[in-house]
Every structure is written in C-alpha cells, then in structure tokens.
Symmetry: C2
DNA sequence: TTTATAGTTAGTAATTATTACGATGTGAAA
DNA sequence: TTTCACATCGTAATAATTACTAACTATAAA
C-alpha cells in the first residue's frame, strides 16, 4: 500500500518533468512511509545510509522543488520547518487538523474561504488555514491536557 | 502617536515582569514605527548603530520572549521569518490580510473558528489563518497581476 | 540613598540551517 | 549507444540560531 503511494509521488515528479533518480525514488518512499512530518534533516538521515556521501544540498534542492510542484507541503511546526506529502486521495483544495503530540494530520472538508467575503480593495492570492490540537489517540494517553492559548 | 505605541509595548513588557532596558525600549520603538514586518536581522540592524557591539543573542532572546508574551507575533512570510507587533487597538482575537508586495497588514473581523464544528475526537488548541494577496495600493501600481496559485 | 540580587547583555564561539559552484555522473530521449 | 541537459557530489561559504560565562544594571529592599 505504501509502495503504491511512493509510486504516485514518483509519477507526480515525472509528470512535472523531473528526472527520476534513485535518490528521488528514495525520497518518495520516505514520504510515502512517513506517519507524520519530516524535516530536511530527517530526510537526509533516512537516505545517507543508502547513499553515503549524500549532500544536504541534494535534499534541500529536492524538497524545494517538490514543494514548488505541489508534491509536498511545507509547514512551520512549532519551531521547525517540516514537510509532508500532499494528500493524493483528495486532489481538491483542503486543510488539516494537526496533532501537536504525534504530528498526525487529519484532512478537513471545509475551507473558510468558501463563504468568506473579501474586502473589495484586496485581491486574494492564497491563504493559510491550519488547526492544531490533540487527536483522540493522544488525548487518551493523557497527553495534552495542558492546552495552550489561542494564537492568530 | 508612534511614541504612544512604543510606550504601550513597554508597558506590556513591564506588565509581564520584564525589566525595561534601553535595548528593549529601542526594540519597542522599532516595532512601533515599523510599517510592516521586521526580521531578526532588521531589528538587529536597527539597533546596532546605537549600541555598537550589540549581540544577535540579545535580539533573538527578546524576540522570542516578546512573542511568548504575546507582545509581538511571528509570521512565515514566503521564505523568511518576520515579526510584527500585535494589534493593540483590537485586543480580541483576529486575523489578517497580508499584502505580498508591501507587507502591509489589514486586520479582519471574522474568524473561521466562529462557526467551525470540530470533529468530536479532536481537541483544538490553536489555529492559524492568514490571507495573502495584493492591497489596493499595490494593485493600482500595477504590481501583482500575476496572481499565484492556491495553497493550503 | 545605598546595597543586594536576579535578570540582562556583551563577547566569544559552537552549532545548525541553507545556499553556491565547478566537476563529475546519469536518466531519458534520439 | 550516444548525447546532453539535468542531478548529484564534494567542498566550502554564508546565514541563522543557540550556548555559556563574565560583566553589567534595573529593580526592590534595606
């Protein structure tokens, strides 16, 4: 099943004109198998055993490329920058609930822009909407009872 | 008028138990006078003339502190991390329209969470909602007709 | 006003994150 | 299988962030 996801990522790379290298196949597999987010470092560490002498350069370049192509999405999780693969099974625009403990991501059907009336002087290009909290699993484990404060 | 804003920031520091140092007064003045966002570097550059030998350390520590206390807010603008002072005049929770050209910020009255029904298994802690685009001024100047694509 | 002290900053350096670039290697098309 | 534009490596430079100790200072208490 995961292998199928990896293949979808590779196809997406291909469709966008990227060459399919061994390293990129590995990146695809990493993201396909990841339960949550991956940092640049984690991607590097997940590859360096296989390709010793791998340069961070390669990782950064590919992450940036894949993000620009919409294959993966970039998030600022607390203090660090992490990536995760876009949801293939729902190829329409959507948002996420993000668990602060296990980093698991739950897709949302609703988008706040659907019934949002923009001020007429402002031309909207894009928006960001993310909800952070604790998922059912992590609540049951007793983590996350110290809910933080609201922030814009 | 800006001086008044700076004083509000200083008062907020004081209220939170921070000591009022000359450097912090300067940071307050910087944010009060800023039209848009400030990066850590810009804050540093805005201070180093007055305090030569100023360490980046001091800037980073204060930015982090001020953010934790809610005096300033942290944003990821395109590729860089920037800060701006919280809106004092509206001390209730709200969001922003952010101009991609001039970085000006326009407060929004509506919050998508007001009529959002959370899935019952998920305990919401906080959320992020930001709208990016081009403000009236920048549109008139002919910038920003090449609107980008939608992104989550 | 003076003193004590906890919080703050400077100075220095280490660590981490990110980008640059020329030489070499390789996927994919002809 | 040859070709070549694209990728990667190797190395290094640059930028961003954090650590730590000694010196300094805002604040409260004496």
């Amino acid at each position: 099943m995961k292998e199928r996801d990896a293949e979808l990522i590779v196809q997406s790379m291909n469709r966008h004109g990227l060459r399919i290298t061994e390293q990129r196949r590995t990146i695809a597999r990493l993201f396909a198998n990841a339960t949550g987010f991956l940092s640049a470092k984690e991607v590097f560490l997940g590859m360096v055993d296989k390709y010793n002498g791998l340069s961070f350069n390669t990782v950064y370049r590919n992450l940036k490329l894949l993000e620009e192509l919409g294959v993966i999405e970039r998030f600022q999780i607390e203090d660090s920058i992490k990536y995760r693969v876009g949801c293939f099974e729902r190829n329409h625009h959507h948002h996420h609930l993000i668990c602060l403990t296990c980093s698991r991501v739950f897709p949302l059907e609703t988008c706040p822009m659907d019934n949002f009336q923009a001020p007429d002087h402002f031309q909207i290009v894009k928006h960001k909407f993310e909800i952070y909290g604790y998922c059912g699993n992590c609540q049951r484990r007793g983590i996350g009872e110290d809910a933080g404060t609201m922030s814009a």
